[in-house]
C-alpha cells in the first residue's frame, strides 16, 4: 500500500513565499511608473521569475502564479479564490505590493504532487 508522509521541510511555506514574491516585485517594478507598453512585459516577468524561484526550492509541488497590475486611478479591484484540494498539503498566498503609480497583486497556489 502507498503511504504519503508529511514532511514539514518540504511543505509549502506561505511566509517564505511572500518574502520571495516581494523581492521579485521590487526587482522588476521597484523603480518604474505605470507604462502601458511595458506592463505586459512586467506581469510576464513577475510570473516567470516567481515560478523559477519556487521551482528552485525543489519541493514536491505544482505551482500556479497569477499577477495583476493596475494603474492607480481610484478604481477598486477585488480578488477571491476558492479551492478544492488537499487542505493538509496544499496552500496559497497572496502578496499585495504598490508603488506611486500602480498596484500589483500576486497569488501563488501550491498543490502537492
Amino acid at each position: 500500500s502507498v503511504v504519503c508522509v508529511f514532511d514539514p521541510q518540504s511543505s509549502f511555506n506561505p511566509d517564505e513565499t511572500t518574502i520571495t514574491i516581494k523581492e521579485v516585485n521590487v526587482n522588476i517594478m521597484g523603480r518604474v511608473d505605470y507604462n502601458q507598453q511595458q506592463v505586459n512585459k512586467w506581469t510576464s516577468s513577475i510570473c516567470e521569475l516567481s515560478l523559477t524561484q519556487l521551482a528552485k526550492q525543489g519541493k514536491p509541488y505544482k505551482y500556479i502564479v497569477n499577477c495583476a497590475v493596475m494603474q492607480k486611478c481610484g478604481a477598486g479591484l477585488h480578488t477571491a479564490n476558492s479551492c478544492y484540494w488537499d487542505t493538509a498539503m496544499d496552500g496559497s498566498c497572496t502578496v499585495r505590493w504598490e508603488n506611486r503609480t500602480m498596484y500589483c497583486v500576486v497569488c501563488v497556489f501550491a498543490v502537492a504532487i
Binding site: 502507498v2 504519503c4 505605470y34 502601458q36 506592463v39 505586459n40 512586467w42 506581469t43 510576464s44 513577475i46 510570473c47 516567470e48 516567481s50 515560478l51 519556487l54 521551482a55 505544482k62 505551482y63 500556479i64 502564479v65 497569477n66 499577477c67 495583476a68 497590475v69 493596475m70 494603474q71 492607480k72 486611478c73 481610484g74 478604481a75 477598486g76 479591484l77 477585488h78 480578488t79 477571491a80 479564490n81 476558492s82 479551492c83 478544492y84 484540494w85 488537499d86 487542505t87 498539503m89 496544499d90 496559497s92 497569488c107 497556489f109 498543490v111 502537492a112 504532487i113
Partner: protein, 129 residues
C-alpha cells in the same frame, strides 16, 4: 495493468482520455454562472468582496459536480471597477502539461469587469473543499 483478475492495485497514475480535464466544458460552466449572477449588477464597493467570494464558491461547486475524477481545482475571481485605468493580468504554471489545464472567461459590463479562471490538476490523495 488494470489488475481486475488478480485483485491487485488498481491505482491509476494518469487519467485516460475520457477523464482528462476539458477546458471547453469548464469555460461553458463559468460563463453560465457569470451570466446568471452578474447580469444587471453594478459595482458597489461594499458588496463586491462578498460577491467575488460567492462567485468563486459557486464556480468551484459547479466544477466539483462536473465529473472530473481525482482532479483538484483552483478558482480565482477578479472584479474591477471600470474607470479608464489600465489593468494587465498574467499567469504562469509549473505543472504536468499532459494532465493539467485551465479555463477562463471574462465578463464586462458598463461599470465593472470580471475575470475568472478555473485551473485543474490531478493528484493521488482525495481532494476536499
Amino acid at each position: 495493468m488494470e489488475g481486475q483478475d488478480t485483485g491487485g492495485n488498481t491505482y491509476h497514475l494518469r487519467p485516460n482520455y475520457q477523464h482528462k480535464f476539458k477546458p471547453v466544458i469548464v469555460k461553458a460552466c463559468i460563463r453560465e454562472i457569470l451570466r446568471e449572477q452578474l447580469s444587471g449588477v453594478q459595482y458597489e464597493p461594499e458588496e463586491v468582496p462578498a460577491l467575488s467570494r460567492a462567485l468563486a464558491e459557486s464556480i468551484k461547486n459547479k466544477l466539483k459536480d462536473a465529473g472530473f475524477e481525482r482532479y483538484k481545482f483552483v478558482v480565482q475571481v477578479v472584479i474591477g471597477e471600470q474607470r479608464g485605468e489600465g489593468v494587465k493580468m498574467a499567469s504562469r504554471c509549473f505543472w504536468d502539461a499532459d494532465t493539467d489545464s485551465y479555463a477562463e472567461d471574462l465578463f464586462m459590463n458598463v461599470s465593472s469587469f470580471y475575470s475568472f479562471s478555473g485551473c485543474l490538476r490531478s493528484g493521488p490523495n482525495e481532494p476536499h473543499a
